[in-house]
């Protein structure tokens, strides 16, 4: 199939960006979206045009590196996939495709489709862990964790940290991202001891990074490639209330 791409090109963080038009020809429906972009880039290089820079790495939907807003939707029109797992069979011959970077004040653009997501790392740094250190630990079965709690913790822990939730939110809120770590740890006995300290520190860091607040649009859940449920935001709010008097 043949496609017309409208791609966000921006030389650097402080430069002005614009949408440039490119043609993608003879695209196989079995190709992934990024493989389609690879081919476009090969053509650009040969015509001495700088290729489109975009973030990507594992190309199997787990590292969370790829980050493109495709036709207005983070990770594109397919459900429960990252950009790298989106396949061209989801498009039709002659389609116009608009490709933009994540948009959020907390994710400054580096170049073209690449953004800086270190704000998410700083949220984890603020308290996204248990304060254990290597060694001297009791047996893994010493504290029992019934399947139901373990499974729910895992549902939260599936977050790949891609930031699609932020990109999808009208407020550029990072509540879904932050709530997954708060919830995972609060659900497990190993994380309960620090639950109050954790939720306060992480929410404070989230706010200071310039992410917006949650006003229940649930766009984050719709965009999340792992289908993480907004109920974790409610859990984080409950954890926050429990933590307040302390």
């Amino acid at each position: 199939m043949n496609l017309i791409l409208h791609v966000w090109r921006q030389k650097g963080p402080n430069e002005k960006g614009r949408l440039d038009q490119y043609e993608a020809k003879n695209v196989s429906p079995d190709a992934s979206f990024l493989e389609m972009l690879d081919e476009v880039n090969e053509g650009l290089i040969k015509s001495d045009i700088e290729p489109i820079e975009f973030d990507h790495d594992c190309r199997e939907g787990i590292c969370g590196t790829c980050s493109q807003v495709i036709n207005g939707i983070p990770h594109g029109p397919d459900k429960l996939v990252t950009t790298c797992q989106l396949h061209m069979r989801k498009f039709k011959d002659g389609d116009h495709i608009y490709i933009e970077p994540w948009r959020s004040k907390a994710f400054p653009i580096i170049k073209d489709l690449m953004v800086d997501r270190n704000a998410l790392d700083r949220i984890i740094q603020s308290y996204g862990y248990t304060s254990t250190h290597t060694g001297g630990i009791a047996d893994g079965n010493a504290i029992l964790i019934p399947k139901v709690e373990a499974d729910e913790a895992m549902d939260a822990a599936e977050c790949i940290g891609c930031g699609a939730c932020v990109a999808a939110c009208p407020n550029a809120s990072a509540m879904l991202f932050t709530s997954t770590k708060v919830s995972q740890m609060a659900l497990l006995p190993q994380g309960k001891a620090e639950a109050a300290l954790r939720v306060k520190a992480m929410v404070e860091q989230m706010d200071s990074e310039g992410f917006g607040n949650c006003t229940n649009h649930y766009e984050c859940q719709a965009a999340c490639p792992k289908g993480i449920n907004v109920s974790f935001i409610s859990r984080m709010n409950r954890e926050m209330m429990k933590a307040m008097p302390k």
Binding site: S32, I110, Y129, G135, G140, A157, I160, L188
Partner: protein
């Protein structure tokens, strides 16, 4: 030179404990005076940086990704082995040790493997304490499953995302140290040189991938945990950024590269669909717990839909060939068996390079919902890529390059032949011999990072004065000039072919000649083609843009340039090893029914190659392997 792994002697079960006591320690208040550089933030590097930071060392950690959480360990699916024996099925440290030695086709060091099996149990405890949500039963106990090459159930897992969960555990521990300031993290940095002063590793040179600036960092020790080199085949299950660059640059500075020909081709990957394909996707080995591999018995059935082929007309070839291990035969054996069926023109799917992995029997036995719970994310991933529903029809799979058992040579302390240079995880060669068992990579990465290096690095550091060589030493300037020179050269060629075109061509040479089956003729063919391609690369590669900004073409050009040198050493190692063992299969050395034949008399050694110059022959150094605790035997899974 005959190399010595400096393994402790005496009864094997006491070696690690005795060795830990014999090693020197660094006083707690002195630890902060030492600076340690860690390259890579996967399971090995992340765990090492976090653990060393906790101990009080001054750590600087580097990764090429934008965040430490994105290292490729994240993609490991199936699980992590440990000798807990929770299911009461006869497991023990000795059995894990034995299975790993045998799985590796008797080409790994006994002492290293014993230590790995011993600390495997600590790893599970450590990860549980970090909040890793391992699968558990309703009573709350940890659940396990089986993996290839083992007859016990010792693999702990977190759905199909075990690597992700373990890596996030290590990443969070690392982030905690970044917060307290014991670890400084440098993301989007790629190591492009090792700085060696008077034969001792003293620092690294990196490219800042955002600004393009070449930066130098000094350290009292350098830890490389930069992963494996399977992207030498172009198409592999590795992430796009995985490369041999960090370890190869170290090799060019004198570190020996050991057993590069031990490459693992994973049996269960989604078959290649087209020429534009950029990578292959793994389907976890855990699927072989419930999936049965088969191909049609008759060639004429290959084009029919799977459902139209009668049960009697299906050849469950692994169950037929290896009745005692069946579908859980080790990876090298399962891969070769799949290739054999396809070579016999009984493959299925496009191009007939595929075999079925069928879940129907298990779905009938335990129900679709149980299968979904066990492997739901893998079935979903399969559907997204192939547009096929594996609950209704069998998956199509084919082997793909996956893991490098070879790596930089290290002694028992994980230190290379260059003092001060430590190598962990997939980047070293140490424990998997000629074939790694499933769920053992996560185990090794975390064992090296959490439990080995914190002990062994102290022994080295205690013997040196901290901060004796810093980045004002002339060797650092020299290294910056070399690295800058290479970038200038790559930018200036302005040829006709793109970096990917060269990488694809190299991959094709390697896959066809140095892939799952190798012969003297194919290896010599590769040795003719690689230098020619390398020469063409340096004449005709095209890199656009500038070196002083983000330039992924330039990054890839550097990586491909290194693959073009390294691939030759890999091929020479394969040519030198006149036997078949594990992932290294020489067609000249097989039994009548196609099983690998080792040559223990002549090849029970580690082959460690010393780089002597790009167009010069590398020098082979040998480390003889001794087996005191297991008997060298023909590896049989029948």
């Amino acid at each position: 030179m005959i190399l010595d792994g400096k393994c402790p002697t005496g009864p094997i079960q006491d070696t690690w404990d005795k060795h830990r006591f014999d090693m020197k320690l660094v006083n707690p208040s002195n630890k902060r005076k030492y600076k340690v550089l860690v390259v890579g933030t996967g399971l090995a590097g992340g765990a090492a940086a976090a653990s060393l930071g906790e101990l009080g060392y001054n750590v600087e950690a580097f990764c090429y990704q934008d965040s430490a959480r994105r290292a490729h360990s994240i993609a490991a699916q199936g699980g992590i082995n440990a000798a807990k024996n929770y299911p009461n099925d006869g497991d023990s440290i000795y059995r894990l040790f034995y299975d790993t030695i045998k799985g590796g086709d008797f080409r790994a060091r006994e002492a290293d493997v014993w230590r790995l099996a011993q600390v495997s149990n600590n790893i599970i405890d450590q990860c549980v304490a970090q909040g890793v949500p391992f699968a558990r039963d309703y009573a709350g106990y940890l659940d396990t499953r089986s993996f290839g090459g083992a007859q016990v159930s010792r693999t702990f897992y977190a759905r199909g995302q075990t690597g992700q969960q373990l890596l996030l555990g290590a990443y969070q521990a690392l982030m905690r140290q970044v917060k307290v300031g014991s670890v400084k993290l440098f993301s989007r940095r790629e190591m492009l040189d090792l700085v060696v002063v008077d034969g001792v590793a003293k620092g690294i040179t990196v490219r800042n991938l955002i600004s393009g600036e070449i930066e130098k960092f000094w350290g009292d020790a350098v830890i490389l945990a930069s992963g494996g080199y399977m992207n030498v085949f172009y198409l592999s299950t590795n992430a796009m950024g995985c490369s041999v660059t960090a370890t190869w640059k170290a090799a060019k500075k004198g570190a020996f590269f050991a057993n590069p020909c031990y490459t693992q081709i994973h049996p269960t990957c989604i078959p290649q669909a087209g020429d534009e394909q950029s990578k292959l996707t793994l389907m976890s080995e855990s699927l072989r717990n419930d999936g049965r591999c088969w191909v049609p018995k008759k060639k004429e059935d290959c084009d029919k839909p799977a459902a139209a082929i009668a049960e009697d007309d299906r050849d469950y070839y692994l169950e037929r060939k290896y009745p005692s291990f069946g579908n859980l035969a080790p990876r090298d054996i399962a891969s070769r068996a799949a290739k054999e069926q396809c070579d016999d023109e009984r493959g299925v799917g496009p191009g007939k390079r595929g075999v079925y992995l069928d879940f129907q029997t298990s779905i009938d036995r335990v129900g679709e919902s149980t299968i979904k719970e066990r492997y739901g994310n893998l079935f979903q991933m399969y559907e997204k890529i192939t547009d096929e529903n594996a609950y209704n029809q069998p998956m199509r799979i084919y082997p793909a390059p996956h893991y490098a058992m070879g790596g930089l040579w290290v002694d028992y302390n994980c230190m290379s032949n260059l003092p001060g240079l430590f190598v962990l995880g997939e980047a070293n060669f140490s424990v998997h011999g000629a074939n790694r068992l499933g769920a053992s990579a996560l185990m090794q990465g975390l064992a090296d990072g959490y439990f080995v290096i914190p002990n062994t690095i102290a022994h080295y550091l205690a013997g040196i004065t901290p901060g004796m060589v810093k980045d004002d030493h002339p060797e650092f300037q020299k290294s910056v000039e070399e690295v800058t020179g290479q970038a200038d050269k790559l930018m200036s060629i302005n040829g006709k072919k793109t970096v990917s075109e060269f990488h694809r061509e190299l991959g094709k040479i390697m896959w066809e000649n140095v892939g799952m089956a190798r012969s003297e003729a194919s290896l010599n063919n590769a040795l003719k083609k690689i230098p020619a391609l390398r020469e063409e690369f340096w004449q005709n590669v095209k890199v656009t843009g500038s070196k002083s900004e983000i330039n992924s073409q330039l990054e890839n050009a550097g990586r491909v340039a290194d693959f073009l040198e390294f691939s030759e050493v890999l091929t020479k190692d394969a040519l030198n090893r006149e036997e078949s063992c594990g992932g290294h299969f020489r067609t000249e050395h097989q039994t009548a029914d196609g099983e690998a034949t080792r040559d223990d008399e002549n090849f029970t050694y580690v082959a460690a190659w010393e780089f002597k110059g790009t167009d010069k022959e590398p020098e082979l150094h040998k480390e003889p392997l001794k087996f005191d605790n297991v008997k060298l035997a023909v590896r049989s899974y029948k």
